[in-house]
Amino acid sequence: MISAPDVVAFTREEELEDDLYREPPLPEEYSVPLFPFSGHGANPWAKVAGSKFTRDFILISEFSEQVGPQPLLTIPDDAKVSGTFDLNYFSLRIMSVDYQASFVGHPPGSAYPKLNFVEDSKVVLGDSKEGAFAYVHHLTLYDLEARGFVRPFCMAYISADEHKIMQQFQELSAEFSKASECLKTGNRKAFANELEKKLKDLDYTRTVLHNETEQQKKANDKGYYTTQAIEKANELASVEKSIIEHQDLLRQIRSYPYRKLKESEFHPYEPESALDRVDVGGDQDPTSSDLSDPGETHLYTHVPSYTPKLIKAKSAKCFDKKLKTLEELCDVYFFTQTLDQLHHIERTFRGDVCYLLTEQISRALLKQQSVTNFLFEDVSFLDDKPPVKQYRGCQGLGQDAIDEKCSEESLTPKVVISLGSYKSSVECVPIKMEQEMEDSEEPKMSESVMSEHQENLDYLDADIKGSISSGESIEVLGTEKSGSGLTKSESQASLPVIPSPQVGRSKVGSRRTVSEDSIEVLSTCPSESLIPEDFKASYPSAINEEPYVDDSEGGLRFTPRPNPGIDDGQDDISKQESLVQVDAACCIGKESPNFLEPLPELGQKPCEEDGVVRIPPQPYRPAEQGLRGGFPSHDGLSGGLLPYELDSRYLTGSREVSKSSLDECSDSTSYISSAASTCSDRTPSPAHLACPAGERHRKRAGQNALRFIRQYPFAHPAIYSLLSGRTLVVLGEDEAMVKKLVTALSIFVPNCGVYAKPVKHWVTSPLHLVDFQKWKLIGLQRTVSPAGVNVLHALSRYSRYLSILDADSKTLRCPLYKGTVVARLADHRTQIKRGSTYYMHVQSILTQLCSKAFLFTFCHHLHLPISEREPEESVVNRRMNFLKLQLGLANEDIKIVQYLAELLKLHYIQEPGQGGNPLLRFDYVPSFLYKI
């Protein structure tokens, strides 16, 4: 039998050298359809291989009033990253889709220049010519010397993978919003400082001018004013006006945080109030605003320790001056904070989108398993503390601390919230995406603050479409004004699902005109432009069918076909789904995102002709999960169910499915990866969200574990020892070898608390009882010295608490294991090839074990008598029956679950803060010596 990796070799050869391919003729029955995208590079998920940069990067650009769009910096700051990619050209592209930049300075009908507290706009755009797709985050910073006081900037996350941008839109948006907030906070601070200085200047100038005027008046007794005097008077008048203007500006910039404070909900931005401000400003005299252009006075404002300067009315021309750098605009501290945040973003979103999604799913699921996740998972990476903390630091210093906090809280949505709310906000907008990216078109909602005031920004106008997408290659795939996804949707979350498409449509329509929301459909491919029939065809499903709605809102993603194996439990849902799949050509089958299992997506292998997994996993959607409860055990708890009531089908069934699917998956994954690795550096090793080092460790541990189970026939009892809480000592002379074994086995060690795993890699001194309490896996040095004798003596003395794996003589002394769980966990004939895959396989089985332990621990009647008179024996019997019959555990597997349950109990009982005495539990069971 040829396995998938073997086939890869052939397909690759065909791609590279035709001659070679022809030489070993593949028998007809073995021929496999070739991967249709092989021409573009073999990674099936990165459809565009023609991009000129090697990996994702972040670009910060500015629309300079002097030179136009220009790139400022890239993250990572490495010329290799962007490669031959034309940053200037791309800056032009991304800056050209900024809608807010057109509104600056003096609004019509306003006397004074108004600070426009505009929201950031968030746009996704694609440049098929460059092979680049970008999430573009526009923001404006205030600069007293700039035209209209604003300097438009944008931060763009540029990737060759369109789906990554689309699917990670929420996450990108949230992260970039943080960076943007940080920049803007610093900017407000700097701007206020600048204004203050400017006011002092003006005050001083006025005094000087006033004195001069007075002197002239005194000197002049002719009864009429000289031109000089008139000039002076004019000058004085303009300075006074300028003072009023600047005071107004200062008031505006300072009032910003207080406005935020008044918010009851955490709206990061409030367009209405910004507009109100415009109205308030309109009260002022409209004619007095033109005399002093703030741009003229720039020369005197840039003084560090401040002494007021005289301001001359005439100043240098616009193009002579040097614009402030971004760093100067934002205060160095905030600037570095922002850079840190951007680096964090770059690290977070590095790698293939499927890794990101898988990671997000598992993180979200793990968060739900709040009771059991400490056992085998690295819980520390679940909380997003580090970046937040870092950011908090900058808040503390900022004068807008409160504002910052408000906005941060709303801008740091958990995956859960943002997705859920996002969904409801776009509930009536159908968004489909087809398999081929070229065919895709995404109607997307966008909100604009200006839509009411600026008619020309009606994005539905077809003319605008052409003007904005100036190049044929540009596609704006979707836009969203900041805050809309979060705030808007939250307000709408309570709305019922709109039952008919008509209502939905009319709502959309009304939004375009009444609210700030608007729909934008921009496409430059005329043939692929939005077809109304198509729109309508899929529309009802978008409304009536939750899962579908979910798919469409989540941001334009491919959805896998329902896996028959997994759909068993979800027949009703999938049936509904099949009903609503009106336009099968456009919509790929939808998978109900009802994730009852930790990693079902991994196993999904849609039966497509090319036989390749082409569908990345879905982002995790907890919204749909509410009904089933994130964790089955909570049902068990609330229901107070008896053992016989418990449906263990789920447990056993899912176990089988997951196992088989994982096995398959391992092949396909390795296939993909092998293909991808040859094509380019497009998918660098995925840096996982919190700790790339941890990821590497997992990979290595998985690889070592894989080697261990293949190499040692007695792997099962060794793993059983670890799972049942019996300390395993790896004894050996060679430190590296012992450490390797310890690393391999460490993935099977349940955690006792939320702290580090109870694993000690290398010990040279004799072990003591206390060590067995603390460590469950120990690497121990074997020496021939007298000290070594002590070490061995201690081992034999405490042998009842220990399993001893002798790495030198390849023996294992430990209790017998006759269960079945470990056999699934560590099958030496496993087809899994890669360490990380095996690690995931282990995690999934361990998670199942955890869920069993959870059920066992939290089923009331398993531990306590139902009635007062019930004897203890019947409780014990019930307990054993539950373990054997309901949980399907055999022999020693019971001990594993009992041990895990004990850990769960201890963990739950333990008071926070109190360390608690570590227990050592043990059994008096005979050990056996295993040899190779």
Binding site: L637, R797, R800, Y908, I909, N917, P918, F922
Partner: protein, 442 residues
């Protein structure tokens, strides 16, 4: 290597499947004393006294006051009906002080430092509401730590053990002698007490190492050379004595070389304990069961441990726990045995291999054989291995478990894992109900 009976790793009857290590002491822990149902105190060479909760292993108090090692400790619960119950402990130290501690507040109540020598033993006479300290002399104190009376200087070596006898008498072991003192109210005043030496018993050949009261009518002493004497508690006459009961009188066929090989240390009666019928003696490495009725040793385990047995205790369920310098604690069960006539022969046979390697042949069948009487033997039902050094003492708390203290500075609480597990479940559900987590957690 080991001559001792071993039980292997499968110990079905051993209930202790969970342990808790209590750390705190910085030197040998020598004493454990029970305060009430769930508290106990530990003391040792570091001069610190710790109070522990036996249920949770929680350290309740750390009592500092002594500058030298602790030499004696005794609980002193007030039995006064008028006062509220106060749990006190008295500790004596090599710094020649005695301190009374309040176990509830963890505070020092009073300190006495007028001793001329180290107090080596403390006895509380609850009935008279006084306590005695034994050093080079015997002092009688009342609850308020007033010295009521004292004896003259007895010996430099001092009193090594004290035991309360009926009729206001106490027996004090002073070297080879056993001295009986009587306390009597003095003529001039209600508070005054007199202490009089009543009798000196000089039947022991060597220093008396242990002294234990069996009942109101009997008490037992043991000496360093392995003499065991049963005394009448009322008239202080010798009721019975057993000496050299480790050797030929029990096992006629034991060879003389073995006797020679036994150093005094190996025959020393380290500790005695008793129930109504029997006295249990820790003699050298062995354990002997002496029946008071039959006036003979009915069962023994001549090498119960690898080295000296330091402490033994009888449990209610015919079980016996012993701890030893070898760092292990063993649980024995006294069982009646069917007569197997061939049994003594292998014993003798194996011992013929010579004393040098006598250890090699575990004397597993070591037991006393007597015709026409039920035969008993001590069956090893479990051993607890945890300490890395001599286990000095242990305290049995019934189903709460067993606390052992050792020269490795540790105290280990041994618990019944099954019971603890179900207790934890109980706590868990209580806490769930408290937190309202029984409802769906959102």
């Amino acid at each position: 290597k080991s001559s001792v009976q071993t039980i292997g790793e499968e110990q079905i009857q051993n209930p202790y499947t969970e342990l808790l290590v209590l750390k705190g002491h910085q030197d040998i822990v020598r004493f454990l004393v029970q305060i009430d149902d769930c508290r106990f105190a530990s003391a040792g060479d570091d001069g610190i006294i710790f109070l522990w909760n036996v249920q949770t292993g929680e350290k309740l108090f750390e009592l500092h006051g002594h500058t030298h090692k602790i030499t004696a400790i005794a609980p002193f619960s007030s039995s006064d009906v008028t006062e509220e119950k106060m749990d006190l402990i008295i500790t004596a130290s090599a710094d020649r002080t005695v301190i009374v501690w309040d176990c509830t507040s963890g505070r020092q109540v009073q300190k006495v430092s007028c001793f001329h020598s180290t107090v080596k033993c403390l006895t509380v006479l609850q009935r008279l509401n006084v306590w005695l300290s034994g050093g080079s002399d015997l002092c009688v104190w009342n609850r308020k730590l007033d010295l009521l009376c004292k004896t003259s200087h007895l010996t430099d070596a001092g009193i090594s053990a004290l035991v309360e006898l009926p009729k206001n008498c106490v027996a004090a072991a002073v070297g080879k002698e056993l001295i009986i003192f009587r306390l009597s109210a003095s003529n001039n005043g209600s508070e005054g007490w007199n202490v009089l030496e009543v009798k000196r018993l000089v039947d022991h050949q060597d220093n008396i190492s242990s002294l234990v009261s069996v009942s109101d009518l009997t008490f037992v002493t043991g000496s360093h050379v392995g003499e065991l004497i049963v005394w009448d508690a009322l008239d202080w006459t010798k009721q019975a004595s057993e000496c050299n009961f480790w050797d030929s009188s029990v096992h006629p066929d034991v060879q003389p070389e073995i006797k020679l090989s036994q150093s005094p240390n190996e025959t020393s009666v380290q500790h005695l304990t008793s129930d109504e019928e029997c006295v249990f003696a820790a003699v050298g490495k062995g354990i002997y069961v002496y029946n008071l009725q039959m006036k003979r040793v009915i069962a023994c385990q001549r090498t119960a441990h690898d080295s000296s047995v330091l402490h033994i205790e009888k449990l209610p369920n015919r079980q016996l726990i012993s701890c030893s310098e070898d760092g292990s604690v063993r649980i024995w069960e006294l069982r009646e045995k069917q007569q197997l006539p061939a049994e003594p022969v292998p014993t003798g046979f194996f011992n013929m291999w010579g004393f040098g390697r006598a250890n090699k042949q575990a004397n597993q069948a070591a037991k006393k054989m007597q015709e026409n009487t039920p035969t008993y033997f001590l069956e090893l039902v479990g051993d607890l291995i945890g300490h890395s050094s001599a286990v000095q003492m242990f305290l049995y708390f019934g189903e709460l478990g067993l606390a052992t203290c050792s020269a490795d500075h540790l105290i280990i609480l041994w618990k019944d894992g099954e019971r603890e597990s179900s207790l934890r479940s109980l706590t868990l559900f209580k806490k769930l109900a408290q937190n309202g987590d029984l409802q769906l957690k959102l």
